[in-house]
Symmetry: C2
Subunit: 289 residues, 2 copies
């Protein structure tokens, strides 16, 4: 089974648990809307790619880690889209959760997705329970305080913001968790894998910043130019698109170079460069090599 | 060290982790505001009382379970108070989190408290890691979907609601988790402990309904009569205060009677009846015996 099929199956199992006996139907529908149909699934694919490079001896554990990471990513999108944050009407080309189901159910869907992520991790790790504590801690660190997604988002409510700390928490942390958790799920030493996730997270953020500046709404499926409108930090606004492109390419190369020795290192290096390229917006005049 | 001191210490440790290096200061302050100064700490005290009755062989594990439960309770209060739900300006006699810190940070504080709960559980269970999976599953079940707090709150957004299912999820689930997790944290068979939590949860809900009808705002520290204003189900509105009082007393007695054989059963039975009495609003003309 390929990585995407594994991820969709694990995510579907998590949402089916949430839809279990007695579930309020509209919240169940809001959770499904937040997770399906799929986006790029970048983080869980990265998690499974690292697990595969490390031998992937317990696929149920790495599937659970990948699904937990994507559930948390989806939760963060639902809450980020709320009126008090981005007030985004669309996401992945359809209505955002609060537009489709109301603000109350959007708040609750995000909450329930966070809970479902930790539950999923625990259900999946039943096959190798000694790996559970490291997985919970790695993933909690990436989404909570003081340095995870919630912290990153909160920097937008501070009187002054450090661009690097903001992006490391808001975007980088979950990428780093994807590679670290992928290794931990496969029973490997996870420390050498942090750099790959961190560099890809930075590259993703720069690609997103470029996209915000140059892309059309049709491709991204969300309103563009929001960073400028909302006064948010953006590397392409700050350094110009060509400068941001050079930075992006250096980060993708650093990511590939950071991959530690492991059975699947060469394949993963090629995959990393290829995947990084796909992060860039389609209508750029010259794509990164 | 008495139970309250243990709970406050464990909660403080969790919030200090959230306040760690690089934390955005306003979100850190919002989290602390949500958790301190303390409310009644009913659920974590119940958790520790059951752990004590079961021998409490690893106090760090039961402290973590108790703290995780209270962090999740606090998270639910922060989100419940949001403008899209109760729009409550006060909580525990002070400003609610969104009034003190803004709606964005209230959403994020709730999110980060949910994450901190699972992190706390994992840190505490380092002393007995084989107890972690059951604790995560018990507590996740009590707060997520299909039957936890988020599900309970979501019933308010459904076109029709079953009063029993609504209250079981919104209030009963976390009480049941408190007793079940207390036993599991102490390495005991947790199943026989569910009934105690469920009955106390129902009793708490009835006491809260009575309080909503008869109490003054000064005592509760939150606006009263909201159930009526918001068209929410309320046992005291439906059956009258005397009818609701009779129901409350029957539930408290059933809770005490459900306590399974264990070293501390007699003490816990007395404590249960005493604590149940404290749930009732102070200005009731005749208190439950």
């Amino acid at each position: 089974m390929d990585a995407v099929a594994r991820i969709e199956r694990a995510l579907n199992a998590a949402i089916e648990r949430a839809e279990g006996p007695g579930a309020p139907p509209r919240l169940a529908a809001a959770m499904r809307h937040a997770v399906f149909p799929r986006g790029a699934r970048i983080r869980p694919r990265l998690c499974l790619a690292v697990a595969a490079a490390c031998g992937d001896d317990h696929p149920a554990v790495s599937d659970a880690a990948a699904a937990a990471i994507e559930l948390l990513h989806c939760a963060s999108l639902v809450h980020d889209d709320l009126p008090c944050f981005d007030d985004a009407a669309t996401r992945r080309g359809r209505k955002s959760v609060h537009v489709a189901f109301g603000e109350e159910l959007a708040v609750l869907a995000g909450d329930a997705l966070i809970v479902a992520a930790f539950e999923t991790l625990t259900v999946g790790a039943a096959h190798a329970p000694r790996r559970l504590p490291a997985l919970v801690r790695t993933i909690a660190h990436a989404v909570g305080m003081p340095a995870g997604i919630a912290a990153g988002q909160a920097w937008e409510s501070e009187p002054s913001v450090d661009l690097a700390a903001y992006q490391r928490a808001k975007t980088g942390a979950l990428f780093a968790a994807a590679t670290v958790a992928g290794a931990a799920a496969a029973g490997a030493d996870s420390k050498p894998w942090r750099m790959l996730g961190e560099r890809l997270g930075e590259a993703y953020q720069v690609a997103d910043d470029i996209g915000d500046v140059v892309s059309g709404e049709a491709e991204l499926g969300k309103p563009i130019g929001r960073d400028s409108a909302l006064g948010r930090p953006n590397a392409a606004l700050r350094y110009g698109v060509p400068g941001a492109m050079r930075h992006f390419e250096a980060l993708a190369a650093a990511a590939a170079d950071s991959i530690p020795a492991c059975p699947g290192a060469a394949d993963l290096r090629a995959l990393t460069l290829n995947e990084a390229r796909r992060l860039l917006p389609k209508e750029l005049p010259s794509r990164a090599a």
